[in-house]
Amino acid sequence: MTAWKSINDIANDVQTGAVSALSLVNQALETIETNQQFNAIIATLANRARERAKQIDDRVKAGEAIGRLAGVPFIAKDNFLVFGAETTAASNILKGFNAPYQATAINRLEAEGAICVAKANLDAFAHGSSTENSDFGTTLNPRDPTRVPGGSSGGSAAAVALTMAPFALGTDTGGSIRLPASFTGIVGYKPTYGLVSRSGVVAMASSTDVIGPLARTVEDAALVLDVMAGRDDLDGTTIERDTADYSAFSGAIKGRKVGVVKEYMGEGLEPGVRKSIEQAIDQLKRAGAEIIEVSLPSLPAALAVYYIICPAEVSSNLSRYDGQRYGYSFKEAKSLDDSYGKSRSIGFGKEAKRRIMIGTYVLSSGYYDAYYKKAQTVRTKLINEFDSALAEVDFLIGPTAPSVAFKIGANTADPLQMYLADILTVAANLVGVPSISLPAAESQNLPVGLQIMAKQRHDRDLLAFAKLAEGIIK
C-alpha cells in the first residue's frame, strides 16, 4: 500500500511544486482501482478531480498560493452533495440524482485546494452500523474482509484504512464516524454539534447529525476540521468557531483530569476490548493524567432515547423523497397516492422503512407524550449529567464500541443487536459534545477504538489531548 505523507506535508509539496496535484489524484484513483474488492467506493469523480488537479498545478506554476489543503485528495461519504456528481446516500430512491448545489463542507475544503476524488459507500441514508444496509452492497473491512468495517461511514473508514486518500468525510448521527474508525484502526472525529455546517449533506437526524473527518492521525483530522469549522449562513444551527486554529496543539497530559465512565466499562464489553482500554487508561495515568471514575446514571437509557428521537427525525426528514421531483419515481402510478406509495415502498430499503414506521408511530397523536416527549426529557437529563461530570473532569473516556469488528451477516437478522453497536457512541450525539475515536492496542489482531469526549465547544482542547494520547496508547 502506498503511504501518504501528512496532509500538511502533502499541501507543502504541491505548493512548492515538489509534487503535482495531478500525480496525487492519480495515486488516489489507482489505489481505489486496485482495492475495488472492498467495495468502499460508490463512484469515482476521476474527470472532475483531474480537471481540478490540473488547474491547481497551473496556478502553482503561475506562483499563486493555493491553500492549506493544496492538491490533497479526499473521499466524501456519498451523502455529501458534490456539485454535478451523483449523490445517492447509498439508497435506490436517490439513484440518478445529480447534485445541483454543493455541501458547505466540500466548498470550504475545495477553497483550500482539496480535491474530491470519490464518493464512499455507507448504510443507506446512514442508517446502520455496518454498511450492510447499503443498496450498493456491503463494504469489507480492510483488516479482515469477512468482517464489517462498521457504519454508517464504513466506506469512508475503509477508504482511509486502504490509503485511497489521506482523509475522508463522514457523518456521525449516533456513532457513524467513530464506530467505523474504531473497526478499521483509524482516527474518527465527531465535532461539537453545529461546529460544521450540515448544508448540502443528506439529513438523517437533524438534531444529532454532525460532519467530521476520518484520517490516519489526529493532526490530519484537526487540520481538516479547522478548514470546515464555523458559522454558515446556510445552516442556522451552526456555531461560531474557535478563534485559534484547531490544529495548533498545546498543553500536556500531565495534570489533566480524565473521567473513566463507569457505565462504559460494565458488562457486555468484550474482554479483549476491556483489556485494551484499561491498558490505554493505565498509559495515560503513567503519563501524568489524573484518572477519576465517574458515573452517568442515565447512560443506559441513551440508546433507547436515541432510537426514539432518531427515527422520529428520520421519518420527517425522509418525507421529501416522494417520487415527485427527483430521484426514483414509480412511473406507472394510477393516482397520486399510488405514486407516493409505490415510489417510496420500492425506493426505500428495509431499514429506512423500519425507521419511518417507528418515527411515525412515536410522533402520532396519543403516543407523542409517551415516547417522543419522554425521550426528550431523558435527553435533557443526560445533558445535565454530562454537564456535571464535565464540570469535575476535563475528558470522559471509554471504548468506542463494545466489540471489535463483527462478522458480516452476524447482526443482520436482529436489528436490536445491530443497534447495540452504537451503545457507547450515541450519548455524545444526544448531548452534542465532541468525541474522538483513537486506535488503541489491538485485540485478536483487530483494531480497538478508545473514545474520548470533552465539553461542548472544547474541540481544540480535545484534539490537543488526543494528539498526545495517540502517541502513547497504541
Binding site: 446516500a89 440524482f97 442556522g236 444551527t237 420527517s316 416522494d322 415527485q324
Partner: protein
C-alpha cells in the same frame, strides 16, 4: 329561507383565522425573492424551496421583525421565546413533506382588538398568531390527467392570526376582518393587497340553541370583507336549515363559490388529520430580548385607533375617516392621513379631507382599475401649505369657486401641470384663470343678457319655481367662462327679477 323567528332561536358563533402575507423581500427560510405575483412559474425557487436533499431552512429575521410589529398592532407584544415545528402531510405543492409552522410556542400570544359594529365598540380576543411558510400553488387543468405545481409561493412568510370565537353576527365578522386588515396595513407588516390574496380569511361558523357550541364548518380562503360577511350568512342559514330538518352539521372544510354566492363542501374533517407535529431541529428557537421588542415598539407608526382619535379631534366625521383609512392600495391611506396630519388648520383639514375622499380618491379608484400597482404617496398630493392656501382662496378670500378649488388642487397634484410644493396656489389660480369675477357691474350685464335670452325660465323663477334659478346661474357661469362668482350671480338674478 328561514324565518326571523326560527333564526332567533339560534346563537351564532364565529371564529376567524387570518393568513397575513408578510412583506419581506425574501422567503421565510430562503434567500429567494418573495414577490410571486408576476413571476413565471418555478422561477423564484432555490434548493430550499424545492426541498432538495441537504437543504436547510434559515430563518429570515425580517419576518420576526414584522411579526413583532404585528404583535403591537394586535394590542400585545411578541413572546420572548417561540419556536418552529414541523407539520407533516403529503401533497405535491409541499416539497419537504412538512410545513414549517409554530405549534405550541407561537411568536404572538393573547391579544385583542376593538371593532366597531353599528356604532358600538366590541372587543374581540386574539388567541394567538404564529409564523409559518406558505405552500406552493397547485393547478388542475380541466380534462388533463396531470396537475401543475408552481413553487414560487412555497416558503412565503405568513402570519396566521387566530381569533377567539367572540363574534356572533356576520356584521361582526366583517368588521373584525376589516379591522385586522387596517391594522396589518398601517403597522406596515403586509402589502395587505386583498386582490392578490395577501390576507386570506378562514371563517369557522357554528350555531347552537344552548350555551354549548355547535358543530362548526370552516370556510377557507376568503379574500374580501364582503365575502366573509356573505359566507357567514350563508353558513348560518345552511346550518340552521339542517338542524331544523333534524339533520346534523358535519365538521368539514368548505370553500366559497363566488359565482353561485354559496359555500360548498371540500373535505370532511371527521377523521382528524394527524400532522405529527414535532419541533423543527433545523431552526433554533426565536429568543427576543426586551430591548429588541422595546425598540420596535418605539418605531411603530400611527395605527388606525390613534389615527381615528386624531382625525376625530379635528372634526372629521367617521365616514370620511373610515373611507380614508380604507383607501385601496397599501400606502394610499397613509399618504392621505399624513398630509391631513400635517395641516395645522382645522377647517382646512376638513376641506382637504372632503376633497381627498370625494374627488381625489374617486379619480384614483379609476386608475387602480387599470393598474393594480397604482398607489398614492405623500408627495403625489398638494403640500399641507398648499391645501391651506387653496382653502383660504376659496373660503375666506372667495377668490375662487368650489369647482375651481377642486381643479386647482388637481393641478397641484401628481399628474397636474403645477405638481410641485414650490407653486403658490394664488399664482396658479390666476394663471389658470380660476379667479372669479366679483365685479358687480360686469356680472349684472351678463345677468341682464341671460334673463333676456331665457324669458321662460325667468318667468318660472318669478312664479316661485326656485329650481329654475339654478339653471339661470349656470347660464351666467357659462357666459362668464366659469369665472363669475356664483353667489353674486344668484343675488343679482333675484334682484333683477324683483324677488
Amino acid at each position: 329561507m328561514i324565518s326571523h323567528e326560527v333564526r332567533s332561536k339560534y346563537r351564532l358563533t364565529i371564529g376567524i383565522e387570518c393568513h397575513v402575507q408578510l412583506k419581506t423581500n425574501t422567503k421565510l427560510f430562503a434567500a429567494v425573492g418573495n414577490d410571486a405575483r408576476e413571476a413565471p412559474p418555478n422561477t423564484l425557487v432555490s434548493h430550499i424551496c424545492f426541498g432538495l436533499p441537504g437543504a436547510l431552512p434559515v430563518l429570515n429575521e425580517e419576518a420576526v421583525h414584522l411579526a413583532t410589529r404585528a404583535a403591537f398592532a394586535l394590542g400585545t407584544e411578541p413572546q420572548r421565546f417561540s419556536k418552529f415545528d414541523r407539520k407533516h402531510y403529503f401533497y405535491p405543492d409541499l416539497p419537504k413533506g412538512y410545513q414549517i409552522s409554530q405549534f405550541d410556542e407561537p411568536i404572538i400570544g393573547q391579544g385583542s382588538i376593538t371593532i366597531d359594529v353599528d356604532g358600538q365598540d366590541k372587543v374581540i380576543g386574539i388567541t394567538r398568531a404564529h409564523l409559518e411558510e406558505d405552500a406552493g400553488k397547485s393547478t388542475h387543468p380541466a380534462g388533463k390527467d396531470y396537475s401543475l405545481v408552481d413553487l414560487n409561493r412555497a416558503g412565503t412568510p405568513l402570519l396566521e392570526i387566530v381569533s377567539e370565537p367572540d363574534m356572533h353576527s356576520a356584521a361582526e365578522a366583517k368588521a373584525y376582518a376589516r379591522e385586522l386588515y387596517l391594522r396589518m396595513k398601517y403597522a406596515d407588516v403586509s402589502e395587505a393587497n386583498l386582490y392578490y390574496g395577501n390576507m386570506r380569511f378562514d371563517v369557522n361558523v357554528s350555531v347552537s340553541q344552548t350555551d354549548e357550541l355547535g358543530t362548526r364548518s370552516e370556510t377557507k380562503n376568503l379574500n374580501s370583507f364582503r365575502i366573509v360577511e356573505k359566507a357567514v350568512e350563508y353558513e348560518t342559514n345552511r346550518q340552521i336549515e339542517l338542524l331544523e330538518k333534524g339533520e346534523k352539521v358535519v365538521q368539514e372544510t368548505r370553500g366559497w363559490d363566488d359565482a353561485k354566492q354559496r359555500t360548498f363542501s371540500q373535505r370532511s374533517k371527521e377523521n382528524a388529520d394527524d400532522y405529527r407535529y414535532m419541533p423543527d431541529p433545523d431552526i433554533p428557537p426565536i429568543v427576543l430580548s426586551d430591548d429588541y421588542v422595546a425598540n420596535i415598539g418605539a418605531e411603530m407608526p400611527d395605527l388606525p385607533t390613534g389615527i381615528r382619535a386624531k382625525l376625530t379631534t379635528v372634526g372629521l366625521d367617521k365616514q370620511i375617516i373610515e373611507t380614508l383609512l380604507e383607501a385601496d392600495s397599501p400606502t394610499s391611506g397613509q399618504a392621505y392621513i399624513k398630509v391631513l396630519h400635517d395641516i395645522n388648520h382645522s377647517e382646512a383639514v376638513r376641506f382637504a379631507a372632503n376633497w381627498m375622499v370625494n374627488r381625489h380618491l374617486a379619480a384614483f379608484q379609476t386608475s387602480i382599475e387599470k393598474d393594480t400597482e397604482a398607489h398614492v404617496t405623500y408627495s403625489d398630493l398638494p403640500s399641507p401649505d398648499q391645501f391651506v392656501a387653496v382653502y383660504q382662496l376659496f373660503n375666506q378670500a372667495k377668490a375662487i369657486n368650489s369647482n375651481s378649488a377642486d381643479s386647482l388642487l388637481f393641478d397641484l397634484s401628481s399628474g397636474g401641470k403645477f405638481h410641485d410644493a414650490g407653486f403658490e396656489p394664488e399664482t396658479v389660480a390666476e394663471q389658470q384663470g380660476y379667479v372669479q369675477n366679483s365685479d358687480e357691474a360686469e356680472i349684472a350685464k351678463i345677468v341682464e343678457q341671460v334673463i333676456a335670452d331665457n324669458a321662460q325660465a325667468a318667468e318660472d323663477v318669478k312664479n316661485g319655481e326656485l329650481k329654475a334659478i339654478g339653471f339661470l346661474v349656470g347660464q351666467v357661469m357659462k357666459f362668464s367662462q366659469g369665472k363669475a362668482n356664483p353667489s353674486l350671480a344668484q343675488t343679482l338674478i333675484k334682484k333683477q327679477l324683483g324677488l
